[in-house]
């Protein structure tokens, strides 16, 4: 079956990052980034391909997964699924960055993106809270720098600062939570932590409860969910658009990947609930708060990028259903979590695509407000069609990938008996159609005059790939959801 090391996809990403840095070391003054972009894309493609190959070869899907390094890392369907997602988003971002940052040297940019992707892939594989923390930081640190990448831009540096401040705070909270979990259970390995939970924690439930809460805080930051969402609008708006795309899809997915594994494997709900730590309830509340806040705030925005930022918070709320709808013994847990994973996958394409269009608009020098997009449909039909598809998919309008993933997610929640949650989610989803369609209206229905430059090839290519991804996920949704649900179900085994 598998003849390469199980962590090959992760290794490939890391090696690509080193290759980029090496290339940049050898030719530090080269102002042509095509080689850098090429290395990044090829490396990510290789990683994506390997992950796909492993997935199709059923690595660890049927079994418990392959544990490595004294159980600190596990490779299973879920980690491969997410790694494929991260690699795909990285390809898009690497292509987009080629045109977006058109001055000077970009070695550090590609290096940072690839390192962060490596970290994300590791997050998806983490089977120990120590690995989780290290991987989380490996994602966060490059992200901070990426957000502040435009050194002379006030918005970018402000965004970087805010992202960093809240990031530092939340990672401190996370690690303190981990220390409490360690205190309560005596181990950082998730299976051992779970065993301690199962055996009743020996009267240390108080510490464990605070610890679980704090660990959840760390994930909520990474996924831009309430109450750690403050950074998201600022960071996404101020950051260079490809970076916003990267953060809002890949980074968010990574947070969820880790949260899924830590909570499901590490803090089994049945044992946790009997110890008074009902985290599913916590996530139910947070899911509602997050989606309501994200969608309502998005509806009041005047700038496209900021609207997308808030809508990204809203989507975090939907995905949180994947955790909220878990119950101790239900056989449907795998289905709903798999649906959440599939939604993240689809989201990876459509949301990245939407931000890439914003990148394109910034590249053209079009403004940031809704009105500034007026008439783009007539002037650049292809890009506008792509954007329209992304937005409608984000809204969950049926013919597109976003509809299916939301449908499966909500169906899973209904099966788990969370009718009220689904009702709120559907109302939110309908509201989202309103603000997404504002962009569509501006692009197609309004008249506008722009002095648009050439069409940047790589950005267009990225946009096209994202579009193909979004559209192909309609007929190709079957394998995605099946893989996701199978992987998620294996987690509950």
């Amino acid at each position: 079956m598998v003849t390469a090391p199980p962590l090959t996809p992760t290794f490939l990403l890391g090696l690509t990052a080193l290759a980029v840095l090496l290339y940049d070391s050898v030719w530090p003054d080269s102002s042509d980034a095509s080689v850098l972009a090429g290395i990044s894309v090829i490396g990510s493609l290789a990683s994506l391909g390997t992950a796909g190959w492993f997935l199709s070869a059923d690595t660890g899907l049927a079994t418990e997964g392959i544990s490595l390094y004294a159980d600190a890392v596990v490779v299973d369907g879920m980690s491969l699924f997410f790694t494929a997602l991260f690699a795909a988003v990285t390809i898009l971002v690497a292509l987009a960055a080629y045109d977006y940052f058109d001055d000077g040297n970009r070695g550090e940019l590609y290096g940072l993106v690839l390192l962060a992707t490596t970290g994300m892939s590791l997050m998806a594989s983490a089977n120990s809270l120590a690995t989780a923390f290290v991987a989380l930081e490996l994602v966060s640190l490059p992200s901070y720098a990426l957000v502040a990448f435009l050194k002379d831009d006030r918005g970018s540096s402000e965004a970087g600062l805010k992202y960093f401040l809240i990031g530092a705070l939340s990672s401190a909270i996370f690690v303190f939570g981990v220390s409490l979990i360690y205190g309560a259970t005596g181990s950082l390995l998730l299976p051992d932590v779970a065993a301690a939970f199962e055996s009743g924690l020996g009267g240390r439930t108080g510490i464990a409860g605070v610890g679980v809460l704090m660990v959840a805080g760390g994930f909520l930051f990474k996924t831009a969910a309430v109450p750690f969402h403050f950074w998201a609008p600022e960071a996404y708006e101020g950051a260079p658009a490809p970076v916003s795309a990267y953060l809002s899809s890949a980074s968010k997915a990574a947070g969820f990947a880790l949260a899924f594994r830590v909570f499901v494997v590490g803090f089994p709900l049945g044992a946790a609930t009997s110890a008074g730590i009902d985290w599913a309830l916590l996530f139910q509340v947070l899911a509602v708060a997050t989606m309501v806040l994200g969608n309502f705030a998005a509806a009041t925005q005047e700038k496209v990028k900021r609207m997308l930022a808030y809508s990204s918070i809203g989507h975090a709320g939907y995905v949180l259903i994947g955790l909220a709808a878990i119950s101790a013994e239900a056989s449907t847990n795998g289905d709903v979590m798999g649906a959440a994973m599939a939604h993240l996958f689809v989201y990876g394409f459509m949301n990245t695509g939407a931000f890439l269009f914003v990148a394109l608009a910034e590249n053209w020098g079009v403004g940031r407000r809704f009105e500034d997009y007026n008439g783009l449909g007539a002037e650049k039909p292809f890009a506008a069609v792509a954007m329209t598809a992304f937005l409608f998919s984000l809204a969950g309008v049926p013919p597109l990938g976003g509809f299916f993933s939301k449908l499966f997610l909500f169906a899973g929640a209904v099966e788990a008996g969370l009718w009220w949650l689904v009702v709120i989610a559907v109302i939110n989803s309908s509201l989202s159609l309103y603000y997404y369609s504002r962009v569509v209206r501006a692009m197609w229905f309004e008249e506008g005059e722009h002095d648009l430059g050439a069409t940047p090839t790589a950005l267009y290519a990225a946009l096209a790939i994202a579009l193909v991804g979004t559209v192909l996920l309609l007929p190709g949704f079957g394998p995605v959801i099946e893989t996701a649900q199978e992987a998620a179900t294996a987690l509950f085994a």
């Binding site: 080193l18 090496l22 070391s25 530090p28 003054d29 102002s31 070695g107």
Partner: protein, 137 residues
């Protein structure tokens, strides 16, 4: 006996002796306050401007580089300690050595990159810069 008791005691002594010297000096020395004396020394000129000057960014770059590398040495320490016992315990050399080679390899890549990006290049003279850009054209 716990060795840290002795270390604590030495810490007391290490602070105590200088403090004692200060006390002795305070008893001995005169105090003749005078305006001119307390002016900061600037080659005898009247001090200009503030001391909080902007200094070369390279100091900062070096400090950053250090922060990263110094912490990495912390992670190498445990490895050096167990290296020989592990080998004597029967582990093969590659098994013990390879992870650290990878670790150091990654570090070296980072160092080389920083080096080539000019993180440790103290002076970049305009002439050198000019030559560099010309060579690239």
């Amino acid at each position: 006996m716990n060795p840290w008791i002795a270390i604590g005691a030495l810490a007391l002594v290490a602070v105590g002796i200088p403090v004692a010297m200060m006390v002795v000096s305070a008893l001995l020395r005169p105090s003749v306050p005078e305006q001119g004396k307390s002016a900061v020394y600037e080659s005898g000129e009247i001090p200009t401007g503030t001391t909080r000057i902007r200094f070369n960014i390279q100091y900062y770059m070096v400090a950053l580089l250090f922060v990263v590398f110094d912490i990495e040495t912390v992670l190498i320490f445990p490895w050096t300690v167990i290296y020989r016992p592990a080998l004597e315990g029967g582990a093969s050399m590659m098994e013990v050595l390879a992870p650290m080679l990878v670790f150091i390899g990654v570090l070296v890549v980072g160092l080389v990159w920083a080096w080539r990006q000019g993180a440790v290049q103290w002076v970049s003279s305009p002439r050198a810069l000019e030559e560099k850009t010309e060579a690239n054209q």
